[in-house]
Every structure is written in structure tokens, then in C-alpha cells.
């Protein structure tokens, strides 16, 4: 029998964006949204499902779903029968299937063995991780789950004396690397991340421009393009409809304040991880704080964290990964490629 060609894949299923990186060079990031048509007209127009940007664009004619919340599969506590869980799993699986379809874009050989590593938030529970396995069932042939900040560290070869801060939409994961697999004590997750910034920004604009009519989606896009915590940035104006007329509104201070809202928690997390570490190695951690994730693209964020660290810890050196959006998936891909075959085989036996 002809042996199947192995395609290694690194996946980051994020609250806001999902990313896939494959060893055939395919890299793709799409917003983690899926839309199902509301009626027969939209069904004819859009088809059975729309994904990512298309789903957001047609949000008025589709039921829009975001399968992940705070980095893990959307949970509904009131859901006793588990129907909502099944639905969320199916939606997340559809999203993953769409992502994996990008991997075949250039592949002529359809006899591929899909091997993937999926990044999970630092403090995801066993159940959360099992959800990821369930999502990947039937989409990937072999799958492993690994901590997202660990994937970032692995991708950057920063497995020792490094502190990874992965700022996503739902969570900010902090993880100290000291040459072993990080345990629960080495990781902190805060829920002040990109979505929290959006919420604060929305409230601040609502307070300043009471008559303006806008949605969180409108300001989210603006934030993604202009997010900054720098005091020396240019003035920022957003066009918002006031009584139906597009009006230019100055939101410089509001955006800066909103972006700033996540900084104290991040620094407090860094402080805790440094303070509870072996005193002889604390300096090493302080000197190597690495920012990753979509949130790390805020202009001036690394300088701001450095300043806070100087105040609270006396010293701090913060750097930002170059490819922030893909850093987690890149690391997951490298992990997938480097993982010895015998471990993959062993995993397969247990399936």
C-alpha cells in the first residue's frame, strides 16, 4: 500500500481569530466567526455557511456564531442536556474544517495524513482540552494539544529563562519558561485582553458622544488599526453616525485609556510569576519578557510594561515577537514537526 504523505499543521483556535500554519507553506488567519443563513433568501445568496470576514460582512442576513469564549469552547451553564455543547462543538469543527481546507489549496495529492498540534490557553482545564480533541475528530488524522504560551516559547526557542505574555482576544496568558514543561504554578491567565479593551473603549465613547450610534464591531476594527498606549501618538478620529450624519469624533484619549486598561493586570501577573520564582533566576526572567498574540501589536505596549516593571520590580526588558498573530501557530507547527513519530504512533494506538 502506498504510504501517505504527512502534512504537519500548527493551529491556534482563538476567540477572535483562528490561525493555521502548515509545513507546505500555507498560512491563513480568519476571524473566528461562522454565519448560518436566516432564511431561504440568504440561503440562496450565501450558501449553507459563511466564515470569517464574509460572516461578519453579512451579519444582518445570518445567525452569527463565535464558537470560542475566553479561549475555550463556549459553555452554557444552564445547558443540562449538553445540546448547546454539541452545537458549539459542531460550529467549532466547521471552522476548523474550513481552516484545514486552506492546507489543500496547493496540494494535488489528496492522500495526505493530517497531523496537527492545537494550542490551548495556558490554564485550560482537562475538559477544555478534551473539547479541542473532540473538535478535531474527523478533521485531523492525528492531533495533540499543547499550551499556547509554550508553543510560542517553543517556536522562538525560548524554553529557558523567559516569560511569555500571550495577549489574545479573550485571555491574556502568562507563562514562565524554565527548561521544563510549565505547570499550573508557572502560568497565569487573566481575562483582561482584546475583548476587554473593546468593552472599555465602547463605554468611554458612549460617555463622551452620547448621541453617537455605533456597534462594538465598528470600534473593534478601528482599535485593531490604531491601538496605542503611547502618549506621543497622533490624534485619532473615528467617523461615527450622530443622528444619521457621519461625524468625525476625537477618540485619542479614549483609545489610549482603553488599551491601558489591560496593562496593570499584565504587570501584576509578571510580578507574581517573578516573585514566586527561584530568587537566583528572577533576573533572567525579568530580562526576557516576550509579548505575543494579536494584542501585543498595540503601539508602545512593550515600553509601557517596561516602565511599570521598573516601578514594581526595579527592572524589566520586554520584547515583542515579530510575527505576533502567527507566533502560536508557528510554534505549534514546529512542535508537530519535531515530535518523534513513536509518540504519534503511541497516541494512535490509544485512539
Amino acid at each position: 500500500m502506498k504510504e501517505k504523505k504527512i502534512l504537519n499543521i500548527g493551529i491556534d483556535l482563538g476567540t477572535s481569530r483562528s490561525v493555521i500554519v502548515c509545513d507546505n507553506g500555507i498560512r491563513q488567519a480568519i476571524p473566528s466567526f461562522i454565519g448560518y443563513p436566516k432564511d431561504a433568501v440568504s440561503l440562496k445568496l450565501l450558501g449553507e455557511m459563511v466564515y470569517g470576514e464574509d460572516a461578519i460582512r453579512h451579519r444582518l442576513s445570518v445567525k452569527l456564531y463565535r464558537p470560542f469564549d475566553k479561549g475555550v469552547l463556549l459553555q452554557d451553564i444552564s445547558d443540562k442536556k449538553g445540546e448547546a455543547h454539541l452545537k458549539s462543538t459542531a460550529i467549532a469543527r466547521a471552522l476548523l474544517r474550513k481552516l484545514v481546507a486552506y492546507a489543500f489549496e496547493e496540494e494535488e495529492d489528496d492522500k495526505l495524513l493530517l497531523r496537527g498540534v492545537i494550542g490551548a490557553p495556558a490554564l485550560a482545564t482537562q475538559n477544555n482540552k478534551k473539547d479541542f480533541l473532540e473538535i478535531a475528530d474527523g478533521v485531523l488524522d492525528d492531533v495533540m494539544i499543547a499550551s499556547e504560551p509554550f508553543c510560542v516559547a517553543y517556536g522562538m526557542n525560548a524554553l529557558n529563562s523567559a516569560l511569555i505574555v500571550d495577549i489574545g482576544a479573550g485571555t491574556t496568558d502568562l507563562c514562565r519558561m524554565h527548561g521544563t514543561i510549565p505547570g499550573p504554578d508557572d502560568q497565569i491567565t487573566t481575562f483582561k485582553a482584546g475583548d476587554y479593551v473593546d468593552q472599555v473603549f465602547l463605554e468611554l465613547i458612549e460617555n463622551k458622544y452620547k448621541e453617537a450610534n455605533f456597534t462594538v464591531n465598528m470600534i473593534k476594527r478601528f482599535k485593531e488599526e490604531n491601538a496605542s498606549v503611547s502618549e506621543h501618538g497622533e490624534q485619532l478620529f473615528i467617523e461615527l453616525p450622530i443622528k444619521g450624519k457621519p461625524t468625525s469624533c476625537d477618540v485619542t484619549n479614549e483609545l489610549r485609556e482603553a488599551c491601558h486598561a489591560i496593562v496593570p493586570d499584565i504587570v501584576e501577573g509578571i510580578r507574581k510569576l517573578v516573585a514566586t520564582f527561584d530568587p537566583e533566576f528572577q533576573d533572567g526572567l525579568k530580562q526576557n519578557v516576550i509579548l505575543a498574540g494579536g494584542g501585543s501589536r498595540m503601539i508602545g505596549l512593550h515600553k509601557e510594561i517596561e516602565n511599570y516593571m521598573k516601578k514594581t520590580l526595579g527592572y524589566g526588558k520586554v520584547t515583542r515577537v515579530e510575527d505576533s498573530l502567527y507566533a502560536g501557530a508557528n510554534g505549534a507547527l514546529m512542535l508537530c514537526k519535531d515530535m518523534p513519530d513513536e509518540y504519534w504512533d503511541e497516541l494512535k494506538k490509544r485512539k
Binding site: G25, E106, K130, M144, I181, M334, D338, M339
Partner: protein, 145 residues
């Protein structure tokens, strides 16, 4: 004066008449000649046209080739796009630290590479820990089912 005008009119009419008669003779003789030549030339034409027909067929085929030129150009553009994408992806791979093979390896060498990954011994404990955790997760999943 009247006589001079009449004389000139008659001479013009005579000249026109002479012209028409000579044109008629020429036309009729020309037609007669044409029919004669066609009748005589038909068998010759049939034989002589064979190589000419062949040539015209070849020229038509050549024309089709030029018509196909557009399709070929489209294909070339698609190949160019594909190459550009490949170059872009290679740049991405190089940027992400994945090493691109420097030269084409023989099938035997390739097989050896597939069979044995180069594993960094220092990272083995990470791999083992991650694999163990995932095996445990599978166990729990089976238990739940």
C-alpha cells in the same frame, strides 16, 4: 454658329457610340475567353489545387495556433501567480525558521529522512511530557464515552 454647335453635338454622339460599341466587343470577347479558359482549365485546376488546398489547410491550422495564444498566455499568467505564491511561502518558511532543503536529495536519502527525524535530545523531555498528557486526555475521553 448654330451649325457649328450641331456639328460638335453629332461628333460627340458619334464618339460616344463608337466607345460603347468597342466596350461591348471587348466585354463579349472577354466573357467568351473566360468561359473558354474555365472549360479548359477545370481539369488543370483540379490537379493543381491539391497542393494549394493542403497549404491553405496548414495556414488555417497555424491560425488556430495563434488563436490558442490567448489561452496559453492565460496559463502562463496562472503559472506566474503560482510561482509568486510559492516564492512568498518559501520566504515565510525561511522567516519562521524552517530550513529549506538546499539540494534535491535522492529517493533513498529522502526515505531515510522520513524514517528518522533529527530530534534534539534536549527537547525530548518536552515531547514526552506533551505526548503523555495527550495520551492521558485520550484515556479520559474513552472513559467518558
Amino acid at each position: 454658329m448654330k451649325m457649328i454647335t450641331k456639328t460638335s453635338d453629332y461628333s460627340i454622339a458619334a464618339f460616344e457610340y463608337a466607345g460603347m460599341v468597342s466596350f461591348s466587343y471587348m466585354k463579349r470577347s472577354g466573357l467568351a475567353l473566360k468561359f473558354g479558359i474555365i472549360k479548359m482549365g477545370q481539369p488543370v485546376k483540379r490537379v493543381a489545387s491539391v497542393p494549394l488546398d493542403y497549404c491553405s489547410q496548414q495556414i488555417n491550422k497555424l491560425g488556430k495556433v495563434f488563436k490558442r495564444k490567448n489561452e496559453i498566455e492565460e496559463r502562463l499568467i496562472a503559472i506566474d501567480d503560482k510561482l509568486e505564491r510559492i516564492i512568498r511561502r518559501l520566504a515565510d518558511i525561511e522567516k519562521s525558521g524552517v530550513v529549506v532543503a538546499e539540494k534535491q536529495k535522492s529517493a533513498k536519502e529522502k526515505k531515510q529522512i522520513i524514517e528518522k527525524k533529527q530530534i534534539n535530545a534536549g527537547n525530548m523531555m518536552f515531547f514526552k511530557a506533551i505526548a503523555d498528557e495527550n495520551i492521558q486526555l485520550r484515556h479520559q475521553q474513552e472513559g467518558n464515552q
